[in-house]
């Protein structure tokens, strides 16, 4: 091949590859076969923060204390010491619960255990792993180099690096199933779901929780419904309550490929601080590009071959010229 042709060919190839060569586009990942998750129903949450305290107990983290108030954990947001936090939406006089205007509402922030997790896709050393069966996303500190790419890649800003420790690591919810805790493997449920007095945080398989969420969507406001507590399939107890007017939207069914932790509420999720996410996961676009460019390293190898040939010729030419 003439040098010019080679250059044309390789530029052409690069352009095709860079434009996302659709043939090898990687679609969103599918939910894990036995995906485990939680359903957070904002309308049930009373903001007691029992879940926050229990989370700290399970994960061996100190309570966050502000001022004189030592009764409650008063963490304001996620941090290396807070993997699960309850935030408050407020509007105007903030008098009516679950009302968008002049009302207030609770929202839980914690790892959503994405079906197609950005953190896992972005981590260069496989320190974040989506479990093949349960879909739980866990972290391996022994592998982590602390580059914090996972933080940039998480749509929910969940992974937290402990900057104040010279030997800090990433902290995130691992669904109570990290080495040493392993509640799920031992047949238990997550700490937060176990202590939640209202069933606002409910444990179960993604499928069962989706079913439960859909059932609630279909109910008429004002109707009475038996809300389960603990595990959706095997409730610790249940309580009867009038159905609020749910927003017809299950957060996490589709967003960026979906999540195993689902949220429902009666006010729009952007008001509750959820990010603007398309259905296609960013991870899938990123990996499509990465693989179009580096499929089995074929393109780089080809380019290297061509470059070596061209450069060898040119270097030899130069030497010839000098003689």
């Amino acid at each position: 091949m003439k040098r010019r042709d080679f250059l044309k060919a390789s530029v052409g190839g690069t352009v095709v590859a860079l434009s996302g060569g659709s043939a090898i586009a990687r679609p969103n990942l599918e939910p894990a076969p036995e995906a485990i998750g939680m359903l957070y129903d904002s309308t049930l949450c009373v903001g007691c923060k029992a879940c926050v305290s229990k989370c700290k107990e399970v994960n061996g983290m100190p309570p966050t204390i502000r001022g004189e108030d030592v009764q409650y954990d008063s963490a304001l947001d996620l941090s290396p010491q807070t993997l699960n936090v309850i935030k408050v939406y407020r509007d105007g006089k903030a008098e009516v619960k679950d009302s968008e205007t002049n009302g207030f509402a609770f929202e839980k922030r914690s790892c959503m255990h994405c079906v197609d997790p950005g953190c896992v896709s972005a981590c260069p050393v496989t320190a974040l792993i989506r479990h093949e069966q349960t879909g739980i996303v866990t972290y391996d500190a022994d592998a982590c180099i602390g580059c914090r790419t996972c933080m940039t890649g998480c749509p929910y800003n969940v992974p937290q690096f402990d900057y104040n420790n010279p030997f800090g690591e990433i902290h995130k919810c691992q669904m109570c199933n990290q080495a040493g805790v392993e509640r799920i493997d031992n047949g238990m449920i997550t700490g937060c779901a176990e202590v939640c007095p209202t069933g606002a945080t409910l444990f179960g398989s993604r499928e069962a929780l989706l079913e439960e969420a859909r059932r609630r969507m279909a109910l008429k406001p004002g109707e009475s419904y038996m809300y389960p507590r603990g595990d959706v399939r095997d409730p610790i107890s249940s309580h009867e309550r009038a159905v609020p007017s749910y927003l017809q939207h299950i957060w996490g069914e589709k967003e960026a490929g979906g999540t195993n932790v689902l949220h429902i509420s009666s006010i729009p999720f952007d008001k509750l601080g959820m990010p603007p996410l398309p259905d296609r996961s960013y991870a899938s676009i990123s990996e499509t590009m990465q693989h179009s460019l580096y499929q089995y390293l074929a393109l780089p190898a080809l380019a290297l071959g061509g470059l070596t040939y061209v450069i060898k010729r040119n270097v030899d030419d130069d030497e010839g010229g000098e003689k």
Binding site: P124, A143, T152, F161, N164, P166, S286, Y294
Partner: protein, 379 residues
């Protein structure tokens, strides 16, 4: 006899001492970082995992260090041997820039003592653009050292070794062109997974790698023009105008291509309106675009290309344009929501400045003691 020679001048000068002081301050805070953690020095937080250490030292710094890459393409791939006189200085600047980028990555690495995990095949995640960037940058630093080693061998008169090296140098040169092409585009890919956090004017998704590569090349050529026209203006040397004219043409082509793709993407995805939103992003976009257009206009005119001073202005504008594009995409226009904000702390800035100061000190020392600059240039 070599065509290159050391610039036999005093090493310890006043500017050199000033740089040394800045370097020492940087090292002081660096010691802090390793003793008390990243948080004791930087303003990084829950929403902003990357600050100027990553964005300046690696994302912008390695692009500014693309001079060696750009010239290698011109000289060895496009066979324009007449640019050869510039290669060694460009190579040295690249070598130092990339080494500093590598060091920057290391000091920013929260768990640096486990850094070797990047090299363990069973740990590698080939889906991650970051892996590719890390491996290619490391490999490229080694390649740059090998490419530059003839200069050192020449200085110490190791002729045999040099001959042997020259026999295989072509393959090193080929790798030296391939690696930056790979990791500079992957730097762009890293923006994709950040998704909505990157403002739509900068979130071009599939086109990120191409835009990153184009800015790397443009900045690479510009830094060569910059270094050369600066010494022409500053030290009253004869400007290497014919060489510069050729490089300018390359820059014009690259900027034009970049702008077509950039605006094409905005048009295609219906985002052009955001340019006129009158907010900070629109302002940043307009400044950035103006910085790209200015060198394009200057270098399009015959007069502009032939004058060392206008060349210098054009090159500076281009360097700012490319740097601002990357700063915007990775940091200024990165918004994780939830009210998080970031501005670098003074110690954090001092570490970056210190690293740059040390880099310049080494550059000055090497050109004064090793055969880097071309003979005619300072006859």
């Amino acid at each position: 006899m070599s065509d290159y020679q050391p610039l036999e001048r005093r090493v310890i000068t006043f500017p050199f001492i000033v740089l040394g002081i800045i370097g020492l301050i940087g090292l002081y805070f660096l010691a802090h970082r390793f003793l008390f953690g990243i948080g004791s020095v930087t303003n990084l937080n829950e929403g902003y995992p990357w600050g100027i250490w990553v964005v300046y030292d690696i994302v912008v710094g390695t692009a500014l260090a693309c001079g060696g890459y750009a010239l290698a393409i011109t000289v060895y791939v496009l066979n324009k041997g007449k640019y050869h006189p510039l290669v060694r200085a460009a190579l040295l600047a690249s070598l130092l820039g990339y080494t500093m980028g590598g060091i920057g990555a290391f000091i920013d690495m929260g768990r640096w003592w486990q850094f070797y995990n990047v090299l363990l095949p069973w740990q590698m995640n080939f889906n991650a653009a970051m892996l590719e960037v890390a491996l290619c940058v490391m490999a490229y630093i080694i390649v740059l050292f090998i490419e530059f080693s003839p200069v050192v061998l020449e200085r110490f008169g190791a002729r045999d070794l040099m001959k042997k090296l020259e026999k295989v140098l072509f393959i090193i040169l080929a790798i030296g062109v391939l690696l930056p092409t790979m990791h500079q585009s992957s730097l762009g890919t890293m923006l994709i997974v950040m998704g909505y956090k990157v403002h739509p004017l900068w979130q071009s998704l599939h086109l990120q790698p191409l835009l990153a590569l184009l800015t790397a090349l443009t900045m690479g050529f510009s830094i060569v023009v910059f270094e050369s026209s600066l010494s022409a203006v500053g030290f009253r040397r004869t400007p290497e105008t014919p060489l510069m004219t050729g490089l300018s043409k390359a820059i014009v082509g690259l900027i034009a291509l970049y702008l077509v793709i950039r605006f094409g993407e905005l048009l295609f995805r219906g985002k052009l309106g955001l340019i006129f939103a009158g907010d900070l992003p629109s302002l940043m976009f307009i400044i950035e675009t103006a910085l790209f257009v200015f060198p394009l206009v200057v270098l399009l005119s015959e007069k502009g290309r032939k004058n060392a001073r206008t060349l210098l202005y054009a090159a500076v504008a281009m360097l700012f344009a490319g740097s601002l594009y990357r700063f915007n995409a990775f940091l200024i226009m990165y918004n994780p929501g939830h009210g998080y904000s970031y501005f670098p702390s003074i110690p954090e800035l001092m570490v970056t400045l210190g690293i740059v100061a040390i880099e310049i000190m080494i550059f000055l020392y090497v050109i004064k003691r090793f055969p880097v600059l071309h003979r005619e240039e300072h006859a």
